[in-house]
Symmetry: C2
Subunit: 525 residues, 2 copies
């Protein structure tokens, strides 16, 4: 086992100027885990950001191939501590070992996918418009543009993906691939995991001879450390995965800086699932089984958890409800990530329980302790849902609220009333889908991803993925935090006018030394 130090990494320097105040806690047992971690001082934080600014001068100019080597080395180094993560991370998160092994694999695959994007190089969107000396009334100059990295990026780790959305997760991978140094704010809920992965990243930075400051890892409370980091003038963008409250507080800070910066927060979503009547008639029990699997996966702690299920009262609901009720009732309790998330789930569930418009259809087995979640199934009507905004709030955990409606108009009205979502799903027969094109049209204005006859959990890491969606699903509905388009978040186009060929970035040189796709005089070649 690599030794955990309880320290932040300020560039290559392990540092802990204050006493340890941040301890991981095993949510299954309540055991306080060692070592404790010290919150960074202002001096340490500033030093990390300054190193990052210096590192950008070198790292921002590195080639895609060099950055690809770094990303692959990070993946290799994480895999080399895979067995240690498989022991440590379950202790910190309550997530079972197979999940952690799968998430480790996903994290490394993601790093390698961004390596391939950086290495291939066409992501920079190079465009060349040649000069035209003969154009009247004035000659046209030579202009060329491409995406360049923004500068140092702050990454805020998520509690619910200790690997894939944390220290070396999607935000870090895409920022490094773009050429931006990264400063990570570790999540207090899995500090040891953060350190193990952080060490793997730092070894890779050294092995690839990138400068100190290319990566730093800071511990500290979200409000102080996180906000100070986001306010630092040298930070040029940030990525965040977490709660709506936390995300909105940081959005405000990013917008109120002397120079506002792009801030990408993936915040909250209830991921509506519409079951149309033909599908309900054809396969009610199978839909119940699929929904139950999706809503309980990862103890319901996925941002794509199907928290809202909309069904037609005129369908024969009995097989669906009956099967789902049975499955929920026989669901074991499970350990949530930490006591904060556990008590938020209890409190949200209590609000639903107390709400006279909501029927609690089924409860899974009850567990003991702060962090044990029981699976819950609620039901209300579309009229009640539309009259009570609280029913549209995210209940983060293994539950869904079934909303029954009496006719298509009410279903469409409900769809139109939804806030921005990460996903929206429709289950239907071919005939259902043809008859509900209007529903699909509404949903694509509401969500980053629309699914047919599937379930929203399980986000593919691929080129066409959009893990985004209009506010409040994210802070910036134009972006995605999963999939290769995520790299664009950390870049901006720069135009070079009348540059001598030798002074141009290689991506824009006339003979295309990197052999990338470019738009030349309006044509993609």
């Amino acid at each position: 086992m690599a030794e955990l130090t309880g320290k932040s990494s300020i560039g290559f320097q392990s540092s802990a100027q204050s006493e340890s105040t941040i301890f991981g806690v095993n949510p299954a047992t309540g055991e306080k885990l060692k070592p404790g971690y010290a919150a960074v001082s202002e001096t340490e934080l500033n030093r990390a950001v300054e190193l990052s600014g210096e590192a950008f001068k070198v790292f921002g100019k590195s080639s895609g191939r060099e950055r690809a080597a770094l990303l692959r080395k990070i993946a290799d180094n994480i895999e080399s501590v895979g067995d240690e993560l498989a022991v440590l991370t379950p202790q910190e998160t309550g997530l079972p070992e197979p999940r952690i092994r799968m998430e480790t694999g996903r994290t490394c695959a993601q790093l390698r996918l961004f390596a391939s994007v950086a290495e291939e190089g066409s992501w920079v969107g190079a465009r060349i418009d040649h000069a035209d000396q003969d154009r009247a009334p004035i000659p046209k100059p030579d202009t060329r543009s491409m995406k360049k990295p923004l500068g140092p990026v702050a990454v805020f780790c998520a509690s619910n993906f200790p690997l894939a959305f944390s220290v070396a997760g999607g935000d870090t991978a895409s920022a490094l691939a773009a050429g931006c140094p990264v400063i990570v704010k570790a999540h207090h809920s899995h500090p040891g995991t953060a350190e193990l992965v952080g060490q793997a990243v730092l070894r890779a930075v050294k092995e690839c001879s990138f400068p100190e400051g290319t990566f730093s890892l800071l511990y500290g409370p979200g409000r102080e450390t996180g906000q100070s980091l986001l306010r630092h003038p040298l930070i040029k963008a940030a990525g965040f995965t977490g709660s709506r409250e936390g995300g909105q507080a940081l959005m405000k800070i990013a917008a109120e800086r002397a120079d506002p910066i792009p801030f990408y927060a993936e915040m909250s979503s209830i991921n509506p699932v519409f079951i149309l009547s033909g599908a309900m008639a054809e396969r009610g029990e199978a839909l119940a089984a699929g929904l139950h699997g999706s809503m309980t996966m990862g103890v319901g702690q996925f941002c794509t958890n199907p928290g809202l299920t909309i069904v037609d009262n005129n369908s024969n609901l009995e097989p669906f409800i009956s099967k789902l009720t049975d499955l929920v009732c026989s669901s074991p309790s499970a350990t949530m990530l930490n006591s904060g998330i556990g008590s938020a789930y209890d409190s949200g569930a209590n609000s639903f329980n107390k709400n006279k418009a909501v029927e609690t259809l089924a409860r899974g087995e009850a567990g003991e302790g702060d962090c044990q979640a029981e699976v819950l199934l609620f039901r209300t009507t579309s009229d009640s849902f539309s009259n009570d905004d609280s029913l549209g709030a995210e209940l983060f955990g293994p539950s869904t609220l079934i909303v029954t409606h009496d006719n298509k108009d009410k279903m469409l009205a409900l769809a139109r009333s939804l806030e921005g979502q990460l996903t929206a799903t429709v289950h239907g027969t071919d005939a259902d889908l043809v008859a509900n094109g209007d529903l699909l049209e509404v949903l694509e204005t509401k969500a980053g991803r629309v699914l047919i006859n599937g379930f929203p959990t399980g986000v593919e890491v691929c080129h066409s993925m959009v893990h985004g969606g209009p506010f409040p699903a994210t802070s910036d509905g134009r972006s995605t935090s999963v999939g290769t388009n995520a790299i664009e978040r950390f870049s901006r186009d720069v135009c070079y006018q009348s540059f001598p060929d030798s002074l141009l970035p290689r991506e824009l040189q006339e003979d295309n030394p990197l052999k990338i796709r470019r738009m030349i005089d309006g044509v993609i070649i």
Copy 2:
């Protein structure tokens, strides 16, 4: 001459519920122009936005070819009133007829360029990742993504480009090309021009049988009408060209909405021009002539006006300074766009005049009246510049501030201290440029466009143009307001998972009926 009504266009309806309070004024004569325009009421504004929301349901689904036809028809219709604009717009703006004819041509060329982008269709960035049923541990679903229009867009007209950045300017052209209905807030400084162009757009909307609400044109004060428009929940994005103060006020509103929206403001820039010593020695007089032409073009009322010229004290500055002084002294006064801009220029110039660290090197001929600008040439040192932030403020008008420095370190320090800019320019011999790679590296982090041996005025409308740059040059340094990439501002990616082929947008259907460029399983084809 088409009849001017003095009314807003709420969709196809001319409307003026209140009395006329907005009058164009001929800045050359002070003459109040007719007709007067009424500010829209809240009812009128809401009606326009609601129509826009309804129109989006149809317009947002239109094909690129249909939108291209609209954009071309708008261009045709504007050209058909070209003679009328050539008479009216100079009266409202003080800009000479040839400039208006050229700007009309540029505006129509821009509309047609966006037509070609919409028609060609590849701008949507379609991506397809096929399903893989055999993948372990779970099958990969079919996912496909493309850019979709955001919804109704508010466009705020600029004073300094009554055509190219106004009613049917770059923001409107790119938003319509993307599939977003547009609501324009006319600029009070050229209301008649706005109406003439607005009528041309509305005729095109009717001729192409697009729904009412695809376009509306509103008159009213910026603070009330503009802010109400930006606050309306149905507005999904906005474009603005104007002052830093106005842009920042609107940025705040966009960020503080219940659902924050993308707001693209192009605000202020002093467009530094660095003249390196070799170039100064080789062609001081020619540089003076070029700089004089650029700083006085359009009475210095371009966002790319070279307001800051950085030169090396160790160069032989005499031929450059002497020539530039002569040119400035013999420059006639010229009419600025309106009295607000005229008095802001006077007031800014007075601050420079009063500043003990600034020497007024030369003044052009003085003119009479509120709107007459004299060409001004100032000089200071890099030490003074770095000690006084007020010297880096934009002075909107025909002037430049020459900053002399004693060595390269001071030049680099000045470059590093600059705020975000639309452009940065370097004049140098080959040897200068090789020796100043570090300067170029700093400048590309500061500006949207970096020029070598040119002048920043004259922004090409082409595929590779970036008319953007880090805050405060714009509100969002990732975007451009000129060039075909501007279309991306008004779109977001949507992912379609496991859709039957017939329900997919045509851009994503398997057999590629639109024959666009797409990324298929990671490869651009």
